[in-house]
């Protein structure tokens, strides 16, 4: 291995790693689409102390934040097929659970964990919006729903944006654990390519680069969007 880096392999594998980006992004986007609204709703149950849901959200958040994602993946990957096969057996559905595309498991795991993270993000963002804002909105005749939609949420979103950005970057990084479910994303693709000639150093340099590029772009995108959202802050300053 002391002959130095294999540059041809390094370059070829970079593109193999890059070809995993669509799957990574798909999982990320699906997880966000699921987690953003659900996380927000559950955050509202925390803020408004909705009896049972509030309690449920707390435990849910605590569990996700308290356990490594890899173990969440293990649990989902081990339990969902068990549950499904019982279910399929009972209703005589003729699907082999072991033929299910792993991306479905990825959707489940990452939606599940991202929702919990976003509950906390939205909860803290909502609590920074002055209560007077809601009261003022209601005093000019907006309904509770309208007040949230038009006054509270836009302000909370500005506060939440940096944390949503962090959550998204962490989510992208976490999808690298999809290998445990044989998900064909960046890491697994490059790793498989490396298996042939033991070019692991090169493969991991490629994976490393792809993630840095991907995450930097996402961070940059969020920064641009934040700037646009922040407009009203400049006016008031």
């Amino acid at each position: 291995m002391s002959e130095g880096l294999n540059y041809t392999f390094l370059i070829d594998t970079f593109f193999i790693a890059l070809s995993g980006v669509p799957i990574t992004l798909l999982v990320t986007i699906v997880a966000l689409l699921f987690a953003l609204p659900l996380g927000f709703l559950l955050a509202l149950t925390r803020i408004n102390q909705v009896p049972i849901l509030n309690w449920f959200s707390r435990i849910y958040v605590s569990f996700v934040r308290g356990t490594p994602i890899i173990i969440q993946i293990f649990i989902v990957y081990a339990s969902v097929p068990l549950i499904l096969s019982l279910f399929f057996e009972k209703y005589n559905i003729n699907i082999n659970v072991y033929n299910i595309n792993p991306i479905w498991y990825a959707f489940i795991v990452f939606s599940f964990s991202t929702t919990a993270i976003l509950i906390e993000v939205f909860r803290s963002a909502l609590s920074t919006v002055n209560k007077g804002q809601l009261e003022a909105a209601q005093s000019v005749g907006l309904s509770n729903f309208q007040a949230y939609r038009r006054i509270v949420i836009p302000q909370a979103l500005v506060v939440a944006m940096p944390n949503i950005c962090t959550a998204t970057v962490n989510l992208i990084k976490a999808t690298s654990l999809g290998y445990a479910m044989s998900l064909q994303e960046i890491t697994l693709k490059a790793k498989v390519a490396a298996n042939v000639g033991y070019n692991y150093v090169e493969a991991y340099i490629d994976i490393f680069l792809v993630y840095i590029i991907l995450c930097s772009l996402v961070e940059y995108g969020f920064k641009l969007y934040e700037k646009r959202l922040r407009r009203y802050k400049y006016v008031s300053a």
Partner: protein
């Protein structure tokens, strides 16, 4: 036929798993010590006057923030010995734990540099000015006035960093470290891959409990250290 899910496996695996927390904690502890030290250096670079040092420290933090732990872990695991080869050092037989500690030191340093930087910046400049104006030396001002206040601000973030480190550390099994996760996988293999779910649940419970304990501990610690702050809430 055997049951798919047998809760007794959870209970029975715990006594086997728990001793391996020693490895988990040792690796995490070393990473925290080295990472905090390295993070302090990075924070000093970020807060210092040198533009070059700032750029380097910020670049380092951005890169580390964008790198999944597992990628960093393998990069270190394969990369460090390969790099050492160039200098005639043979590191391929190094204990796996060393690579794990290097990885998480690098990562924790990036986290800590941000924790330290933001804690420091949260303390108004006036505190330092007042301290030197009553005749304290700059070093005394940092030690007696700035540091105790920054500590309170940084403590919750430090706690969150610890929990994050502990969780990311669960990936160490992928390069063959027999910590609690590694042991869990050995148990499952010994059971011919049956009852994996129960073992994983046991693992999850262990991590969950530790995280809650850390959180509680830091909550308490914050109260103890927040001299002069405890009264704000009642105002």
């Amino acid at each position: 036929m055997e049951k798919y899910f047998d809760i007794s496996y959870i209970w029975n695996s715990l006594p086997v798993l728990l001793p391996f927390l020693r490895v988990t904690f040792m690796v995490a502890g070393l990473s925290i010590i080295f990472g905090t030290f390295f993070g302090l250096i990075l924070a000093v670079m970020k807060l210092g006057k040198s533009k070059v040092a700032q750029k380097i420290a910020n670049f380092y933090t951005t890169v580390l923030r964008c790198t999944p732990s597992i990628v960093l872990l393998f990069l270190v695991y394969y990369g460090v010995p390969a790099l050492a080869d160039n200098f005639g050092l043979y590191l391929h037989d190094l204990n796996t734990a060393v690579f794990v500690v290097i990885t998480f030191t690098l990562q924790f340093a990036a986290i800590m540099s941000e924790v330290i930087r933001s804690a420091y910046e949260s303390i108004e400049k006036g505190q330092f000015e007042a301290a030197v104006s009553v005749g304290l030396s700059p070093l005394q001002a940092y030690r007696r006035i700035i540091f105790p206040q920054a500590l309170v601000v940084g403590l919750p973030n430090f706690g969150n960093g610890l929990i994050a480190l502990l969780q990311e550390g669960s990936l160490a099994y992928t390069i063959g470290l027999i910590d609690i996760v590694g042991k869990a996988n050995l148990i499952i293999a010994a059971n011919y891959n049956t009852h994996a779910l129960e073992i994983f649940i046991a693992l999850a419970v262990v991590y969950w409990v530790i995280s809650i304990l850390i959180e509680k501990f830091f909550g308490k610690l914050e109260k103890v250290f927040s001299k002069g702050k405890q009264t704000i809430n009642t105002n």
